[in-house]
């Protein structure tokens, strides 16, 4: 009788998370912990928390976690990385944090090519505050502040922030994945591994956008939320590698 799925080393044991049933944060937390263990860098890892549902992530991660001001995750991560380049720095942010209030910090830290990794959880609504419209809300999607569905004439179009960042030369690796089933979760783990490895190699800014379910605010069951990501959300936000300059940067040795 061998346990096939070991508890991740950098995930606290016997803690019941505050996340809603079926929330993607639990899966993303587990994947981050597993990849840190696989690459054996958990001992020097520092994670920067966002404001949002993941604000209490320090209760679940068993390594150093710092809390940043709303949207300023990458600014804080920049400071940590520059002051102590030996540390492995992750900024864990949601769409309200990264794509709304923290757009300036996000774009400038990416443009500077800071050697940090951003885990961007995109669930198309403001989760913690009760499901208001976010910049990433899909066209026609009903939220508490777009009750008739998002209308582009009035509320604008969904913001593709990761596509935008992928055009910058400082961004070495950008990929969008979806938590839409076991296959999507395996791909997400692979993407996080690639991003973490590019930071270890000192190549620059890497970002993984994870399309994540928010069953409570989408007013769907967890199973229907997974299906909605697969059928609707990936149409607006197609999954795949958006930029991969790892090979080029390794050869040119532009390393930070």
């Amino acid at each position: 009788m061998n346990l096939k799925n070991k508890w991740p080393e950098y995930y606290k044991k016997d803690v019941i998370s505050h996340y809603c049933p079926g929330c993607g944060h639990g899966i993303a937390h587990r994947l981050v912990s597993e990849v840190l263990e696989d690459l054996d860098i958990g001992g020097k890892a520092v994670l920067v928390n966002p404001a949002g549902c993941a604000v209490l992530a320090y209760l679940y991660f068993d390594f150093d976690v710092l809390e940043s001001a709303h949207g300023r995750g990458t600014a804080m991560a920049t400071g940590i990385k520059r002051a102590n380049p030996d540390l492995f720095v992750i900024s864990y942010q949601g769409d309200g944090d990264l794509a709304a209030i923290g757009t300036a910090e996000t774009i400038h830290s990416a443009n500077r090519g800071e050697n940090i990794t951003v885990i961007f959880i995109n669930n198309a609504v403001y989760g913690m505050t009760g499901g208001q419209m976010a910049p990433t809300t899909l066209l026609g999607q009903k939220t508490t502040t777009s009750v008739a569905g998002r209308n582009p004439a009035f509320e604008g179009y969904p913001l593709h922030i990761t596509d935008l960042l992928a055009t910058l030369p400082g961004v070495v690796y950008a990929e969008r994945t979806a938590l839409d089933g076991p296959a999507g979760i395996v791909k997400t783990k692979k993407a996080i591994t690639n991003a973490f490895q590019s930071q270890i190699d000192g190549l620059g800014y890497s970002i993984i956008e994870i399309l994540s379910p928010c069953p409570t605010n989408w007013k769907k069951s967890p199973v229907d939320s997974f299906k909605w990501i697969k059928e609707e959300m990936t149409k607006e936000f197609p999954v795949g590698v958006l930029t991969d300059k790892r090979k080029k940067y390794k050869e040119e040795k532009i390393a930070v």
Partner: protein
């Protein structure tokens, strides 16, 4: 000699399960089902079905947001 079939044992930490039902949806062999009883948090938790066989695909452990499911080899 015919290859012996692997067997797997599934257990769930019923007290930390929030009853999202993702593991039940993605289990191909129907090994997992909702319980009849509530746990302390007030959810119908996922529990293994006695007469179904686990194939060891690990899909349930991949989709579980709360690390509830344990799969044992043997």
């Amino acid at each position: 000699m015919a290859k012996t079939k692997n067997t797997y044992t599934v257990t769930t930490r019923s007290e930390s399960c929030k009853g999202c039902g993702l593991c039940i949806e993605y289990c191909k062999s129907g090994k997992l089902a909702f319980s009849k009883k509530l746990n302390k948090m007030g959810y119908f938790y996922a529990e293994p079905v006695q007469d179904k066989e686990c194939t060891g695909c690990m899909s349930c452990t991949l989709v579980c947001p709360d690390l509830v499911i344990e799969v044992y080899d043997g």
